[in-house]
């Protein structure tokens, strides 16, 4: 591989690598947010118990798993 090819490859790979790191960091922060949100939903449903508490909590769980799923997808497939 000559220096020119190496130079080209460097400038093709590095931006994508930066993009991947940036995406993973953002998604990790979102997963943390989803965990905090779920914890808050649990507290909210304790302060005010309503018939729909279970449904609202389940939506929070789905939200957390979706966030975790996209994070893992970004780590392994990007």
């Amino acid at each position: 591989m000559n220096p020119e090819q190496l130079f080209d490859q460097f400038f093709t790979v590095v931006p994508l690598l930066i993009l991947k790191i940036f995406s993973v960091v953002i998604l990790a922060m979102h997963t943390l947010f989803a965990i905090v949100l779920l914890r808050q939903v649990r507290l909210m449903t304790r302060v005010l118990e309503v018939r729909t508490s279970g449904v609202i909590f389940t939506i929070g769980v789905v939200h957390l798993f979706a966030s975790l799923g996209v994070l893992l997808w970004a780590i392994f497939f990007l």
Binding site: V47, L48, E49, G60, V70, A74, L78
Partner: protein
């Protein structure tokens, strides 16, 4: 044979009747039509509802949230966020190929992240609306206020400490959709309560005034 253990009946499972608590049935006619549903902002004697510091024998008379019309800005923004990728994608692709030199996997990830953040935005706003409630019981007035997801304000006062109840409707939307603020002034140094943008504020004032009168009667006797 004597019972070894009798489980206490949950306040949520007790069927509520206005007359059982000395509340005239005429008061229930003040309830606006269409109220009491799962996502309603006005609940009169709701069943299956219980709050953290609820005392035994304390019955929820009113459970109020902000009027649904106050949610329109974040609902509209959520819908816009939903349709933005559908509107933008045709402009950055030509015959199924993307104009910009970004790998397809990144575009897929971007779409996933976009919808995830949109859902987070919608869900957190819904939670703030749903759990920010003003409660009037037969004994107290309780205000549970979520400023944001992490900050909560909980305030309560006895009905007997209430001095004055006033309502304020402001603007065209307030008059058209029949909602407004209800201010409950309390005695002494206790903070006042503000039921923000609740439906049928005039009816709320009448119900609180009735409870106030009833409390005064009970104190006199």
């Amino acid at each position: 044979m004597p019972d070894i253990f009798v489980s206490p009946s949950s306040p949520a499972s007790v069927p509520l009747s206005p007359t059982a608590f000395g509340i005239p049935t005429a008061l229930s006619t003040l309830v606006p039509p269409g109220s009491g549903g799962m996502l309603s902002a006005f609940h009169f004697m709701p069943q299956g509802v219980h709050f953290e510091t609820q005392e035994s024998g304390e019955v929820i008379i009113l459970l109020l949230r902000r009027h649904w019309i106050t949610n329109v800005p974040w609902i509209v923004l959520s819908i816009l966020l939903l349709i933005i990728p559908i509107l933008i994608l045709p402009f950055i692709s030509q015959g199924g190929e993307l104009i910009v030199a970004i790998p397809q996997t990144f575009i897929t990830l971007l779409i996933f992240v976009w919808y995830l953040l949109t859902f987070s935005y919608f869900y957190s706003h819904f939670l703030l609306w749903y759990f920010t409630v003003s409660i009037v019981t037969n004994e107290r007035i309780v205000d549970i206020d979520y400023i944001n997801i992490l900050n909560k304000k909980f305030a309560a006062t006895r009905i007997s400490r209430v001095e004055d109840v006033t309502m304020r409707a402001r603007g065209f939307l307030s008059a058209f959709f029949h909602y407004g603020d209800v201010e409950v002034q309390t005695a002494g140094t206790e903070p006042n309560f503000l039921f923000d943008s609740v439906p049928a504020p005039d009816r709320v004032v009448r119900i609180v005034n009735f409870l106030l009168g009833k409390q005064e009667e009970e104190e006199e006797t």
